[in-house]
């Protein structure tokens, strides 16, 4: 039994208890679970569904509806490509394509070795630097379309 060995499940159980096992606290519980686990695995979701006495499909439906919730573990590094209006006009879709091709994964996916996740976002509020990407919480502006990863590439291992 996972939930007896793993301390994280105890933490989660505690937070569910705090919220009074109410069905309408589902989103709050999902937030807490993602904070504890880093992502929402199927086992975690099933655990939450059982505790809140909610149908599996409903919990899964809510978890997939919101972009914030991740159902797969995050990579060790992450690149967020801005697809907001200013960046898009400056060709951020091409940057995304280049990165996707380089690592062979699509946006919102993680490489099989868990090294890198590619994410997208709508505007960081740094439109003057467009096109912008954020690499491991560090913002990089005026990214070149041909070679967007020049400095970052060696870091990703």
């Amino acid at each position: 039994m996972l939930d007896t060995i793993d301390d994280r499940y105890k933490t989660l159980e505690k937070s569910i208890k705090k919220l009074g096992y109410e069905k309408n606290t589902l989103i709050e519980v999902l937030h807490n679970a993602q904070e504890t686990f880093g992502y929402l695995g199927i086992d975690t979701l099933k655990f939450i569904a059982k505790r809140l006495k909610l149908p599996y499909s409903k919990v899964y439906g809510v978890a997939t509806f919101y972009n914030y919730f991740r159902l797969k573990p995050k990579g060790r590094h992450n690149i967020v490509v801005c697809l907001g209006t200013a960046c898009y006009i400056k060709g951020s879709n091409k940057i995304l394509e280049t990165i996707e091709r380089r690592y062979g994964i699509k946006a919102d996916e993680t490489t099989s070795d868990g090294a890198l996740s590619i994410l997208t976002a709508r505007c960081f509020g740094s439109c003057s630097l467009a096109p912008v990407i954020v690499c491991d919480e560090q913002i990089k502006g005026n990214v070149s379309l041909e070679n967007p990863l020049c400095e970052i590439e060696e870091k990703i291992k």
Binding site: P55, S57, G61, F65
Partner: protein, 238 residues
């Protein structure tokens, strides 16, 4: 002197004077009076979500069309159900449904017994007004009796509601959002492995299109028992 009492309200639909109880919707009153309003996601006996927007009507004094299935009646309101503006809007809504997935009647099991098809005949929609997206989804044929083909789905959520409200299993729900949403079983598991599905087949009966259908039958044999749910609810005395 109970103020919560149900009151009788009178208003007009297409210029005809009608009366209804204050807790009734425009659609219910229209039905009682023999006035046709096209519907798609509405099913008598299930809760109302107003997601398909097929039943939109014009209410005098309101800027935008209102879905008749979820709008409660008001004293003195003037409802128009078939103005040119409404007809155009309905055609557009239907076109968008057709364009989103693969609704090719000639290769569909529900051909001839499809609410989407019937609706477009009713509204004389000859072709889609928006270009097709040609999305592809995987078909789930793992269940021994039924098949789930998201390519034919219009996301009316009748199957979800019938599973939740009538069967009480809630084995189905919507995955994701927007253009990628589709009907799933449990945690997006194959239908056969779903622990909450009771294989009762109610979702298959209410499906308006060929998205949920029985295995091993030909197009000719398809009979969707859509009325069965309304009967069930009536017999249960809800």
């Amino acid at each position: 002197m109970n103020r919560e009492k149900v009151r009788v309200k009178s208003f007009t639909i297409n210029g005809i004077c009608v009366t209804g109880q204050s807790n009734q919707t425009i659609l219910e009153v229209a039905k009682d009076n023999g006035i046709e309003i096209p519907t798609l996601c509405y099913l008598d006996g299930l809760s109302c979500v107003g997601s398909c927007r097929m039943c939109i009507v014009e209410i005098k004094g309101s800027h935008e069309p209102t879905p008749a299935c979820s709008a409660k009646i008001k004293e003195g309101m003037e409802v128009t159900t078939n103005s040119p503006k409404i007809k155009k809007a309905r055609e557009m809504i239907l076109s968008m449904m057709f364009s989103e997935r693969s609704h090719v009647c000639s290769t569909c099991i529900a051909n001839g017994d499809c609410e989407l098809q019937n609706k477009s005949v009713e509204l004389e929609l000859e072709h889609s007004k928006v270009s097709y997206l040609n999305q592809r989804f995987e078909i789930d044929a793992s269940h021994k009796n039924f098949v789930n083909d998201p390519n034919r789905c219009i996301l009316c959520t009748k199957c979800i509601r019938v599973c939740d409200e009538i069967e009480g299993a809630h084995a189905l729900d919507i995955f994701g959002r927007g253009i990628n949403s589709r009907i799933i079983h449990d945690m997006d598991e194959p239908w056969a492995e779903s622990v909450s599905c009771t294989s009762c087949g109610k979702c298959v009966y209410v499906c308006p299109t060929g998205a949920l259908y029985e295995k091993d039958i030909s197009e000719e044999e398809v009979v969707k028992k859509r009325g069965i749910i309304t009967e069930l609810v009536k017999n249960r005395g809800k």
